[in-house]
Assembly symmetry: C2
Homo-oligomer: 348 residues x 2
Amino acid sequence: MTQKGFNVAVVGATGAVGQQMLKTLEERNFPIAKLSLLASSRSAGRSVEYKGEEVVIQEATPDAFEGVDIALFSAGGSISKELAPEAVKRGAVVIDNTSAYRMDENVPLVVPEVNEGDIAKHQGIIANPNCSTIQMVVALKPLQEKYGLNKVIVSTYQAVSGAGAKAIQELRTQSQAILDGEEFTPEILPCAGDKKHYQIAFNAVPQIDKFQDNGYTFEEMKMINETKKIMHMPSLAVAATCVRLPVETGHSESVYVELGEDVSSVHEIKELLSASAGITLQDDPDHQVYPMPAYCVGKNDVFVGRVRKDLDRENGFHMWIVSDNLLKGAAWNSVQIAESLIKLGLLN
Amino acid sequence: MTQKGFNVAVVGATGAVGQQMLKTLEERNFPIAKLSLLASSRSAGRSVEYKGEEVVIQEATPDAFEGVDIALFSAGGSISKELAPEAVKRGAVVIDNTSAYRMDENVPLVVPEVNEGDIAKHQGIIANPNCSTIQMVVALKPLQEKYGLNKVIVSTYQAVSGAGAKAIQELRTQSQAILDGEEFTPEILPCAGDKKHYQIAFNAVPQIDKFQDNGYTFEEMKMINETKKIMHMPSLAVAATCVRLPVETGHSESVYVELGEDVSSVHEIKELLSASAGITLQDDPDHQVYPMPAYCVGKNDVFVGRVRKDLDRENGFHMWIVSDNLLKGAAWNSVQIAESLIKLGLLN
């Protein structure tokens, strides 16, 4: 580290998340001494603007990590598997935004509002959780701390940008074709690597990522397993149904929770959420105030609304959680982890 | 009744549901001696095609129901309140597709696959349930009969056609404006009669109908109360979160159920659903087979898929239920009730 800041590498700088990563570093005025933008050989040589200056993209090779203090990875799981250990070997701390290391017991899986302390246990790699998990645990944490938490059932309403830039383009092109009454062939969604592709425009597709043998998708199992790990609650009952929607950016979640104790007043819960880090409460039914994906884009917070008591269980509550999946769900949470590393004095 | 059939009146023949009602009567070759199409004075004089013949729309007045055997109402709650008693007074049986009489204890609320027997108790009016309720109870009924049912938690993914023809137009116009990068002003959704209107295209809006004082919307309370009434389970625990999506037609529902007894095999549940009236099972994760709204339009059945066991509770199951909200959710269920009336010998 120099007086001026840290040497930061962004791997996958040209992708949907990578672009938000650069924007976030810029907005946060992150203390950068030297910025390296790394990508596949295909993108190497192109340049990208950062704080008004053109930065040329280099090929992501092991040696490109020489002298790097912090490496932010968001170029897909296989790139992380290959290059994150090389970066660590050269002294970098890796913050990985793929699913490659999330369930590795030697890798902390971190949402700073929830388990910032876990960062100290890192052995070179810190994993950034799945987008749909992050926004949910931010809202669950204050409830768990104050009342305890027994059960979570979530149904998601997820945006296509979680599937990358090509999925955004597919939604747009297909929407236009349908409005024009023209033919189209689905090619990307629900899952680029899977066999069948379905219409996403004006549709709702109950598949995100591939299916596991137990009938759940990998996305659903990520939400279930990552939530338990981040919250340090291996026996928390969590169930998830993940659905892709014709929304460009912004994930929404309908969440039912059973708390550890009865809470008589929904007002008390709203006050608690409203005072919690990273949460903006948008909850005023009388004035039709509630969170929506189209209105959360570009904002770092997790928005919570529609908080109400279950009509049958004293300890049951429902809520609606919305956040920008590219920011708190990815880029902002990664940069937050980097800021925590500095704050906790864990970089040297 | 004549040898040739019944005198049938359709009130609200020009609306989104009314149009599907005529199409359904035609497809079912419903035994009609005389068809009266009734609407507001605004639409009177226009004509609509039925089985290749032009039928002139008359104004819906009390006397227009003279000689009518079956009156199918779908012109809004206030019209039903005003004219359904007049139709009954003149000897008609009313099948009402609005919320006007659904919770009236003297009015059976009927989904033929679930409680056809209740039709016999009618005193002139039979109510057709809310669209989102109908498709859910069709899937719940076989489970309840075989295993018992303790708890239901549903999150909906509802199409705009449930809010009428103007909402469909708003979705199309707004989608085009957004694709073109043009300005637009939301005017109809989420709820025509409410104060604020929000973007529906490329968004998800957690409000359907207005809010009640308890923080739930009327749509959510309809699902909760109607489910209990139709299933004759006043103390069933039911919770609902209702969300409007940029989908034209076809409601989807993510449903969690706790059955009355433990069921070891998800296969057994799939077999049961597959063999039940009105249900098409679409559930083969290995081949990415599951129901979706864009592929259910124009079909009468309720489509069920993604059936899987909760990972924490032996008696807990999740499923994904999709149906055409204008057909099983409205027109087809109404015509089915009319067919049941004939089958049960209740018209004379």
